[in-house]
């Protein structure tokens, strides 16, 4: 799990300096039963103007990763490892440093836009608060002007800046949230299921806006979602998460056309399309993260599980250039005993 998953096959990012470097990031929640490792030693790089899709089923740690990067976790949660944003370390930064970074350098767009704005504050007041928290020198009129410009960029008429949140629809509120996130021109925007509560047309608009933002402002975008279609449409690269681990990364084309990790294959097979005749699902349930299975966390559900899968977590192998999978099926994963015949444990485990 130490290999840096960085290069993209498409060569899309023009800059070779990653804006966000995540190394061995872990997020653990304290529970009465012990520490729950929601995110376990994940590493990735994000380049300016690149969009990275993070997919996985519910509870795999996608959102915990996003919040862990922002350090917006409930009391009792612990973040370890390293996340460097433009040369500045996020993990272990003081509250004040974090406060300065949030909004200014890294922004989070949440799901459920209906409740993310204070019902008692005008939309413009939210902007004034956010701007003046970071730039105390900006006077109110100037901040309001910046607000109107950011809103206009998101397709909200300038004249509506002084309305209250309840006077907007859900899609408009999500666009306001995005406008709030980008008004200070952060280098990285984390969008945590930004379209979950919205209908497909608004969803397309929001994704289009995020994509334009990425292209025009060279924002590094992390799109957290369980909707594979959204990732296929908007992202350059995909990271597939399972039980707190990143099990596979690669360009969208690679991962969607030729998934390498058995979990990714199962995930892809589970999507519903017009050709679907029967619902496919992955057998079993995600593991208990307080006491995760030893070795590869997917092995109890894996159709290709081998003896060594229970022993040690496989390293990231590179079956295709730029595509990494943490699985013993591929050379380079640190297979402990190459003589072991593969595929023999699967039947025994599922019996």
């Amino acid at each position: 799990m130490t290999s840096a998953v960085s290069d993209t096959a498409s060569g899309r990012p023009p800059s070779n300096v990653p804006v966000l470097q995540v190394r061995d990031l872990s997020v653990a929640y304290g529970t009465p039963r012990g520490s729950l490792g929601a995110v376990d030693r994940i590493s990735f790089d994000l380049y300016p103007g690149e969009s990275l899709g993070v997919v996985g089923e519910s509870g795999c740690g996608k959102s915990s990763m996003g919040r862990g990067l922002m350090q917006l976790l409930p009391a009792g949660a612990e973040v370890s490892g390293s996340a460097t944003l433009a040369g500045r370390e996020l993990v272990g930064a003081s509250d004040q440093q974090l406060r300065r970074l949030r909004g200014e350098d890294i922004a989070l767009v949440f799901q459920e836009p209906m409740t993310r704005l204070d019902p008692l504050m005008k939309v413009s007041a939210h902007f004034v608060e956010a701007i003046r928290a970071h730039r105390p020198g900006v006077d109110k009129d100037e901040a309001r002007h910046m607000a109107r410009e950011a809103l206009a960029q998101m397709g909200i008429p300038r004249t509506r800046a002084d309305n209250y949140p309840h006077e907007f629809s859900g899609g408009m509120r999500q666009r306001i949230m995005i406008a709030l996130g980008i008004v200070l021109k952060p280098a990285v925007v984390i969008a945590d299921e930004p379209t979950t509560a919205l209908d497909v047309i608004v969803e397309a608009q929001i994704l289009d806006l995020l994509d334009r933002l990425r292209a025009d402002e060279r924002v590094g975008l992390i799109l957290i979602t369980h909707n594979l279609g959204i990732v296929a449409e908007t992202c350059d690269r995909v990271a597939v998460m399972y039980a707190g681990h990143i099990v596979e990364t690669g360009s969208v084309e690679q991962v969607f056309n030729d998934p390498k990790h058995p979990y990714t294959r199962g995930l892809m097979a589970s999507t519903i399309s017009l050709e679907t005749t029967a619902l496919h699902s992955i057998e079993g349930y995600p593991p208990d993260l307080v006491d995760p299975p030893p070795g590869c966390r997917f092995h109890p559900r894996c159709p290709d599980a081998m003896y060594q899968c229970r022993e040690k977590i496989p390293e990231h192998a590179e079956p295709n250039p730029g595509q990494h999978a943490s699985c013993y099926l591929y050379p380079g994963s640190g297979q402990p005993d190459p003589e072991e015949p593969p595929g023999t444990l699967a039947a025994a485990l599922h019996a």
């Binding site: 949440f110 409740t115 008692l120």
Partner: protein
Amino acid sequence: MPPLSGRRVTALRIRVEHALRPWRRANPMARRLVLLGSVITLGFAFLAAFPSLVAPYGEAQYRHVVGTNEDPAAAEGRCGDEFECEDIPRRLSPDTGFPFGTTSGRLDVLSRVVWGSRVAFSIVVLSTVLAMGIGVPLGLISGYRGGKLDRVLVTLMDAIYVIPGLLLAIIIAFVLKAYFAPGLLSAAAAVGVVYIPQYYRVIRNHTLSVKQEPFVEAARSLGAKPNTIIGRYVLFNVVQSVPVIFTLNAADAVLTLAGLGFLGYGVPYPQAEWGLDVSRAISDVVSGFWWTAFWPGLAIMLLVTGLTLVGEGLNDIINPLLRVRGFRGRVPRRLEPAPAADTPVEVNLSPAPTQENP
């Protein structure tokens, strides 16, 4: 100020309409109670604001001027030098030119009652300002920060809360007496301390729920300072519960003040205070002079009733859960079909029966 544009006026009207909506939807009984309570309270507020318009004498005036057209209150100070003065007779019954009678101390009861409303209102306002000024910020900080501070404050406030209000007020008044001269301020402090836990409790509990709201997290994700979050995002979302506590506390504060005064821990004697007057009238009652205790007692009862009606009624109106289910209130006038002169008369699409009749 520039003239308001049409749009702005409309927006203002919409906002006023919006603010009045709970009132319109409220139970008619609740509205009547609020109106009745408001009339009583405003009546006393008027007396408190302009006592000299109603009261024929000053609160501690025991003699009156005879034979002058000058303002009697102003002339009273120059008794003996320029004007001839006459003591107010003791214990006159209410039908002798002194509408509420006089006391054994030569004071006019009507004037005492009117001036007493000023003390009552001053104490209500001062004590509430004190209780709010301490209770609300403590509740906000305690609810938002949580942790040990919260534990300590909750325990402390609970400890204060278990002591009966009047007893606590007496203790505070007793302590304050040792350091300050008794007066309006120390009485207000004694009464105010009693209500701090109520504001604290309500605001803290409300803060606990508001701080979990997604918009608070959103504000944090944009780098808002904790002070901004408390003062801007949380405060305005919890402050709505304050008016109801205020109106209910105000009634209680009048009673507590009267109790303090009755026991002699309120404002000092020459000042007109209802509880004090009732306590000084106790010996009169035994001798058959009913009016010295009756009128201040009635004033206490009326003002407490008025304030309680406003408080309970507001609670009904603001808190929708208490509203009578299914009651929709008066239909707004604009929704009723208006007689339109410019629209054509409604066309009947079904064949008219008259055509078929020969």
